[in-house]
Symmetry: C2
Subunit: 339 residues, 2 copies
């Protein structure tokens, strides 16, 4: 009931999906940079011989490295309508590609929001994608690699047991919005991830916020935590936080610190079928209550309750991704962040 | 003498660097995709417990993975002037970021060539950047990590012994075009690389060529080999090959097969101070002679001999990168590849 009432409080201003525009994009800037990182000295390792460029080369691994930087790419529309930039942070095991073209080749949120007039910054967190990664001396433990079937039940494409190696025999949830014919392309987007690097990831994100913001953060999954921490580190610079199925790890004191940062948390369909997502949502509902008590605002919206059905954990890639982008845009407009 | 005469044959049409335009970019498309990859089954590995999302999760590493895909991002100008797309391939230990903004934040070749009217495809090769990478069962051997000083002499910023941990004390070659104040940002672009993955890299590149070409390939360093192999695999689809300080590993038979693919190889300054680059250039000069014998064309241009001085191995990022882009564009125009 609480979940439903929170959705009702939002006014249920469900926008209708617009046809994807084929208008050309007029950009005043396209570019990229790395940010963060630190120098670290490594010693005591044996010299190796490696075949590079057709010749054996002596490789002395001892010396100074730069590690724990992150990568950022920006697309800046010629006509800005938003008052601040929009930073899009990916989830665990993914990169900024999350927000680029969808696995089936349609437009993603990166350029959709550029078209809406936002300066969009898409990034690869420390140790993911173009951020690069460092040797075992720097990153504790082993990286995690995901099998092709891991996302299926884990990220709510279908019930346990509904996976089949033969795509034709897989049984997704009814009305799934994921472009299932492109499932392999989602898997190709996955990169190895460590589970011990949150501190380094956060350090670079904080530097990014200090460089680019004031801004809105739009975060996914693992980055829910990073977005909330970034807001705590710079509550005056984060003007709003949009969390796609991520967790708010906070307490009353943090809620108080962020009482002026409006937070929207979106959930797709079939959350109740996943213990992990249900628990995370319950946690977020508790945090929403804590925020309300101190005059803050965390709105938790279950998309099926506002008429947007069939979404998995990867709603930014799904067939109705334009409709969900419009929903977010509408929420940001109501918060005065668009001219 | 041969080197000089080859440069003279080019007509020495040295273009002057134009001021970087600040005109907005009008794009008919921006997007990305992964291509290539294969399914591989892994078995016999122990199940692990890892802390993900705040909870211990059981991670069974056995199962099917997708490995050896690559990542591609495209920027398509509204007004095309080139007759075919331009694919930009990075060197060893780097990603497509090579062609994006320079380490000191100026415009890179990616958008420079878009402004010239080319559909530009920048990619991350297999096991680099957003392509992701696979476990030791897939990639033989250890990846290579580079120390901060490795590029200094290796890639011709300065003589051996001219490196100093203190940036103020480093002694680069005179008139260096590299934006030395941003040296750390170049290092941050480096990602780990294997030295055993050429076959997998090449398989994905060939799929890319089959999808996107006919085209021009612009390749750097390690990709010199990949570009030449890609042309051999699809001699009708590669309309020209521009190699930035890369090696042509070929023979007379290959030269014959590629007699209709014009090849331009550019070298920066101080090549004679590097045994590795000198040997690679000597090899390319031999291949140029072999190509000439069968009616093909490999032009080797030493930039200092056409008045472009002070460039390192990373000319696409250097202060005069617009001048070198103009030089390449002029060469491509003479080959009839621009309207």
């Amino acid at each position: 009931m609480l979940r439903l009432s929170i959705a009702l409080l939002l006014g249920m201003a469900v926008t209708t999906a617009v046809a994807q525009t084929k208008e050309p994009l007029l950009l005043r800037g396209v570019g990229s940079f790395h940010i963060g990182g630190r120098h670290v000295a490594i010693s005591g390792k044996p010299v190796r011989e490696v075949l590079i460029g057709g010749a054996n080369q002596r490789l002395d691994p001892n010396g100074t490295y730069i590690v724990e930087q992150m990568y950022v790419q920006y697309l800046l529309p010629q006509v800005r309508k938003a008052k601040v930039p929009l930073l899009m942070w990916h989830g665990g095991g993914f990169t900024g590609v999350t927000y680029e073209s969808t696995p089936d080749g349609r437009e993603g949120w990166q350029t959709m929001f550029v078209r809406k007039g936002w300066d969009v910054y898409v990034s690869d967190a420390v140790e993911r994608g173009r951020a690069g990664w460092a040797m075992p001396e720097i990153f504790e433990g082993e990286p995690v690699f995901l099998t092709i079937d891991a996302p299926w039940n884990g990220w709510r494409f279908g019930d346990p047991g509904s996976w089949d190696p033969d795509p034709a025999k897989r049984k997704p949830y009814p009305n799934s919005q994921f472009p299932l014919e492109a499932y392999d392309n989602l898997i190709k987007q996955i990169v190895p991830r460590w589970t011990t690097t949150n501190k380094a990831i956060m350090a670079a994100y904080n530097q990014l916020v200090e460089k680019v913001c004031p801004c809105v953060l739009l975060v996914h999954s693992q980055s829910g935590t990073f977005g909330y921490e970034a807001a705590l580190a710079n509550p005056d610079k984060v003007k709003a936080l949009v969390i796609i199925e991520g967790t708010i790890r906070g307490n009353a004191e943090m809620a108080s610190k962020l009482k002026n940062v409006p937070i929207l948390v979106l959930y797709g369909d079939n959350v109740e079928k996943s213990r992990m997502f249900s628990e995370q949502r319950d946690n977020n509902i508790r945090m929403a209550a804590a925020a309300k008590e101190v005059g803050g605002s965390i709105e938790i919206v279950n998309l099926p309750e506002v008429g947007i059905k069939g979404n998995t954990h990867f709603m930014m890639m799904e067939k109705n991704n334009a409709e969900i982008a419009d929903y977010i845009e509408s929420w940001l407009k109501r918060r005065g962040l668009v001219e």
